[in-house]
């Protein structure tokens, strides 16, 4: 079960680096953080999973959205 | 108790399969959003009720009740917000009888 989630995390991170639309990249990073929280949860570490759910999903997404809002949305070339 | 929990878990699995199928094969944002919102809310609610029946009466059921009520409020709100976002960014809804030039053939109502 953990192996499937780790493979999905690898796919998500590669796609978040390769995509041109910055908002879609932030969405893929949100999905990556979600799966990371789930993997921490499956490995019997609920405190780390709690921190990951609060920081990675909440604050990280808000800060990255704010940065994309301040700059250009599409990466050129 | 155990049979009722099994019934709710199977119901949640059936709704979940329907929601995944709808999200994969529907042609538009709005139709996908309809399938996703209704089926995910119903299936996750069924899973929560099954887990409540398995856990029995205790402090676990209270927290499960809080999570269930919060999810039941917030997931339709999130679906509505996504629909408003798709509307405001200018995505036109899908129609089956969409023609490129309306003069070439008759239009159906």
């Amino acid at each position: 079960m953990v192996e499937v989630l780790l493979a999905l995390m690898v796919v998500n991170s590669i796609l978040a680096l390769q995509i041109r639309d910055m908002l879609a990249a932030v969405l893929l990073l949100g999905a990556f953080s979600l799966l990371s929280c789930l993997v921490f949860f499956l490995m019997n570490a609920p405190d780390v999973a709690l921190t990951e759910a609060a920081v990675g999903t909440g604050v990280g997404t808000v800060v990255l959205i704010w940065i994309v809002y301040k700059t250009e949305r599409r990466d050129e070339a | 108790m155990n049979v009722a929990a099994l019934v709710f878990l199977v119901l949640g699995a059936v709704f979940n399969i329907m929601g995944n199928l709808g999200v994969l094969i529907f042609p538009d944002v709005y139709t996908r959003l309809q399938a996703s919102s209704t089926c995910s809310t119903t299936s996750v609610l069924s899973f929560f009720i099954g887990c409540m029946l398995i856990a029995g009466w205790g402090p676990m059921t209270g927290r499960l009740l809080v999570i269930t009520i919060f999810f039941f409020i917030t997931n339709p709100i999130a679906a509505h917000i996504i629909a408003r976002f798709a509307r405001q960014t200018g995505i036109v809804p899908w129609r089956q009888s969409f023609r490129k030039d309306p003069e070439s053939g008759e239009q159906d109502g």
């Binding site: 909440g58 949305r73 | 699995a13 809080v66 200018g90």
Partner: protein, 85 residues
């Protein structure tokens, strides 16, 4: 019984992540992320009931709240920019 539910939810997350990966517009990816969030919440609750530990349910509650706040902020900043998709 709960073990089969756990495996079913993992496979369901794997299938519904395809809409996040191949979605043509951002709204499609957002629909897929909402679905994945709901199924992840169900998986967290099923695991914590299966292990019978009370501390694991707090993770599910915090995850639910912050996932909703994330979608809220994401649509609040980028609504009203017509024609960028």
């Amino acid at each position: 019984m709960l073990v089969y539910a756990m495996y079913f939810l993992v496979i369901s997350i794997l299938v519904s992540m395809a809409r996040v990966v191949i979605g043509p517009t951002v709204a499609d990816r957002m629909v897929g992320l909402n679905l994945v969030t709901a199924q992840t919440l169900a998986l967290l609750v099923v695991i914590s009931v299966s292990k019978e530990r009370l501390i694991l349910l707090d993770v599910a509650l915090v995850y639910d709240i912050f996932g909703f706040v994330g979608i809220l902020v994401m649509t609040r900043y980028f609504s009203g920019r017509r024609g960028e998709l």
